[in-house]
């Protein structure tokens, strides 16, 4: 077979990845979470998922670009099998090595527990055979299914998604479906779905998907035809929002905490979206504006902050903080007005770090509390009532935060469709020409920075009130990067994308300092952040829910067919990228 070399290569890559996940200790940690009782743990899923996914790639082989991928399940299964076996053998050799030689001095995770985890408890040498065989089977399965018809693939995909969803999000399901008997039935006491429940859910999902596939599109079309003005749709969306409003009341305390976190990142994501998504300025120091809001509120409201101590109400502090943020936006934006894109990124990163260093320094401890931070920040008093909103009552806090999120959403939306948004879009397309067409790029850039800064300061002020204290370790570069990741994952310049990005990233994996629904990820989430960022840039830079404009911009090399759109310094289609047929 001419593809054999490719298959071997894929096997090697697959095995290497499997070894890697073991070497960093991920399999062990993930094994603690059972997905389907009794045989599928998250660790096993991770370990065998690798050859399964790569089996799909192996089945496609080096397809002839003129013909497109051939779909033959048996050939695919064979390719997957070979690939999986190679991967399994490679991984087994690795496990054998770890079992024989003690490398824990340098690699603390290469210990017996890892061997155990990777051999499914069978140990060496039986486990090695099991590993190789399982890997081969996983690869074969992946290859087999990738060769099936579109219907079967869609059904399988849906089944997998639903089963994974139910098992991974056990907590959420239990919280929503409050019928205890049902929950106790489908989930086993040791966590994880019962295997028969998994089968039922999978089958149900498969059937539903196939039965109603396409109905989504036809339904949407019929709705659009019946309701040309969109008024019915708008009221439906309003209804959906109303229902979403009641969601926090259904969820327990921990999930509400998570929702608050998600909302914070939606808020900051919307702000950064204006700077990065609309104006096209890569700001890596966004956390500085967040810090202005948080520390500003802290200093102004807490009785404990030493030198400056007005002890204002949160609302008054918010007004002051907005002003401070606007000034900060101008201070950061003005020096970078004439800089190239990557220099702008590094300089803003520098600003962010400098703010953190100053907040932490002994020099400014009298104002900012240094390493001790500032504590006893009061909550948000609701005027005319006795209620104070703070982190103590997460449910109230969510609604309050969502209020600000809605404001930010509205501002973003209105700005994008108005004259300002056009100016930003023009500037993003071609700064020189925009300037020549009468758009003052100075004003446009500064406006973007200031707006983004103000939104971040909202988030900061809310954060202060919620946590009741601020410490500098909540304001490091990691936060800026995570907000950027939310924007990119969701879709630069796309408001629904920000919501999706935050829900998926912060909700599932968790924020930089707090866990998400998949709390097992723990320290590994940062690894995944990096991997997701790289993956998105390589495969889908426009994000999960892209804005049409950005989608066009990022794929223009593929869309335009002539050289007249080639621009210096921007993307060029001069290297002969073919238009997609």
């Amino acid at each position: 077979m001419k593809d054999l070399r490719y298959t071997r290569f894929l096997g090697f890559i697959s095995g290497l990845t499997m070894a890697f996940t073991g070497a960093i200790g991920m399999i062990e940690v993930f094994n603690q979470r059972t997905l389907i009782d009794p045989f599928l743990t998250m660790g096993t899923l991770m370990l065998l998922g690798i050859p399964a996914v790569i089996g799909v790639v192996a089945a496609k082989g080096r397809s002839n670009p003129l013909e497109g991928p051939t779909r033959d399940p048996l050939r695919g299964a064979l390719a997957g099998l070979i690939m999986g076996l190679i991967a399994g053998v490679f991984a087994s050799l690795f496990v054998l090595l770890v079992d024989t030689v003690d490398l824990t001095e340098f690699f603390p995770n290469l210990r017996p527990a890892m061997v155990d985890a990777m051999t499914f408890g069978f140990g060496v040498p039986v486990g090695l055979a099991v590993l190789s065989a399982a890997s081969g089977l996983a690869g074969a399965a992946g290859g087999f299914f990738s060769g099936m018809s579109a219907d079967i693939r869609r059904g399988m995909g849906a089944a997998l998604a639903w089963v994974l969803g139910f098992s991974l999000l056990q907590g959420v399901v239990a919280d929503i479906v409050e019928v205890r008997t049902v929950i106790r039935a489908i989930y086993s006491p040791q966590d994880g779905l019962q295997w028969w429940a998994a089968l039922i859910i999978g089958a149900l999902a498969w059937w539903l998907t196939l039965r109603y596939q396409g109905t989504g599109k036809t339904f949407a079309k019929r709705v659009r035809e019946a309701d040309p003005k969109g008024s019915l749709r708008r009221s439906l969306i309003g209804l959906a929002i109303l229902m979403a409003v009641f969601l926090p009341m259904l969820l327990g305390g921990i999930l509400n905490e998570l929702l608050i976190n998600v909302s914070f990142f939606i808020l900051m994501g919307l702000g950064l979206n204006i700077v990065v998504g609309y104006a096209g300025l890569l700001d890596l120091g966004y956390v500085a504006f967040f810090a202005v809001g948080a520390y500003g509120t802290a200093v102004l409201t807490s009785p404990l902050s030493s030198t400056v101590n007005p002890e204002m109400s949160w609302w008054l502090a918010l007004l002051v903080v907005i002003g401070l943020a606007a000034i900060a936006g101008i201070l950061v934006g003005t020096p970078v007005l004439r800089m190239r894109g990557d220099y702008l990124a590094i300089v803003t990163l520098g600003f962010g770090e400098m703010v953190r260093i100053l907040l932490l320094s002994d020099w400014l401890t009298p104002i900012f509390g240094g390493a001790q931070g500032i504590r006893r920040i009061p909550g948000i008093p609701i005027p005319f009532t006795d209620i104070t909103i703070s982190g103590v009552d997460p449910q109230l806090f969510i609604y309050f935060t969502l209020f600000f999120v809605l404001i930010a959403t509205y501002v973003s939306y209105r700005a994008s469709t108005a004259r300002v948004g056009r100016a930003w879009a023009a500037m993003r397309e071609d700064e020189e020409v925009a300037e020549a067409t009468g758009v003052s790029t100075v004003s446009a850039k500064l406006l973007a920075f200031v707006t983004g800064a103000i939104i971040a300061s909202f988030a900061g002020a809310l954060f202060s009130a919620k946590v009741g204290a601020v410490f500098t370790n909540s304001f490091d570069l990691l936060v800026s990067i995570v907000v950027l990741l939310v924007v990119i994952l969701g879709g630069m310049g796309s408001i629904p994308g920000i919501y999706v990005g935050s829900l998926v990233l912060i909700g599932l994996l968790g924020g930089p300092k707090s866990p998400g629904l998949l709390a097992e990820f723990g320290a590994y989430k940062l690894l995944f952040y990096g991997a997701i960022l790289v993956f998105m840039m390589l495969k889908r830079p426009e994000g999960l829910w892209p804005s049409k404009l950005r989608s066009r911009e990022l794929h223009i090399g593929e869309l335009s067919q002539d050289a007249w759109l080639e621009k210096k310094g921007e993307f060029s289609s001069a290297d002969g990228e073919e238009a997609t047929v």
């Binding site: 004259r419 300002v420 879009a425 023009a426 020409v433 925009a434 020549a436 003052s440």
Partner: protein, 262 residues
């Protein structure tokens, strides 16, 4: 008083002296062509006038105001608009949006107006849309109807040139600088655009400076022709005079080699 008055304009890029003590003037309502061999400094001339580069020496007086070192957006706001030699549109924005951006310097609704959806902002947005459509109608049905919502990269080459001109016209200029507007067009499109340049002056009261390499266009459209070579003006006058001027011919074609005898 001339609408645009340039004296002693000089600009060097590294070791290359693109413009050398250039003098130029144009009165309101004139159409002047600027021609010259490659590298004569014609596009640099436009770049300096429109503010993309700041001259080393010299002054640019537009309608009595000194705009010599102004930023490009300021120059545009004063009333000088331009197009580019290698059509630079906002490729991913729609045709209508491209032209609406041109109106940016003539309008003022800011982000606050957008957020609060004030009546003045809404009225302004409507006006921008109306004006944009009106300007696009200058090109008849070519950039109208369903075309308005197409992204600019979907347009044919000639339409892109027209769109760029429309965008420049949307800034409500008094002086329009067209950099090789007919380059790459077929003869029919060229004749059409040449006519349109005349219409710009006659119907819309614009003053136009045209850079072109196509002598038939220059002949048809210009009241006056200015010839540049190596950054200096070497001839000026009507087309008939300039096209037979020895210096001009030498600049384009060279001089016959000196013979050994005689």
């Amino acid at each position: 008083m001339a609408l645009l008055e340039i004296s002693g304009l000089s600009k060097a890029f590294g070791g290359v002296q693109a413009l050398r003590g250039l003098d130029f003037h144009i009165d309101e309502g004139e159409i002047v062509s600027v021609i010259g061999p490659n590298g004569a400094g014609k596009t640099s001339f436009f770049n300096v006038i429109s503010g993309i580069f700041s001259p080393d020496e010299g002054s640019i007086i537009f309608d009595g105001d000194d705009v010599t070192h102004h930023a490009p957006s300021e120059v545009t706001q004063r009333g000088i608009a331009r197009t580019f030699q290698n059509v630079r549109l906002f490729a991913n924005m729609t045709v209508l949006e491209n032209v609406m951006v041109g109106q940016h310097c003539r309008t003022k609704a800011g982000i606050l107006g957008a957020i609060f959806n004030t009546p003045s902002q809404r009225a302004e947005e409507e006006m921008i849309g109306e004006k944009a459509r009106e300007i696009l109608s200058f090109f008849g049905t070519r950039l109208a109807g369903y075309r308005l919502d197409q992204p600019a990269f979907a347009l044919s080459y000639a339409n892109r040139r027209r769109l760029e001109i429309a965008r420049a016209m949307a800034t409500e200029p008094r002086l329009l600088l067209l950099d090789e507007p007919t380059a790459g067009m077929n003869p029919r499109e060229t004749i059409e655009l040449t006519g349109k340049i005349g219409e710009m002056r006659d119907d819309r009261g614009l003053t136009v400076v045209v850079i072109s390499h196509e002598m038939n266009v220059v002949e048809d459209v210009s009241d006056r022709v200015v010839v540049l070579d190596h950054g200096v003006k070497i001839a000026e006058g009507g087309y008939a005079d300039v096209s037979t001027d020895d210096d001009v011919i030498e600049a384009y074609l060279g001089r016959p080699a000196e013979s050994d005898d005689d």
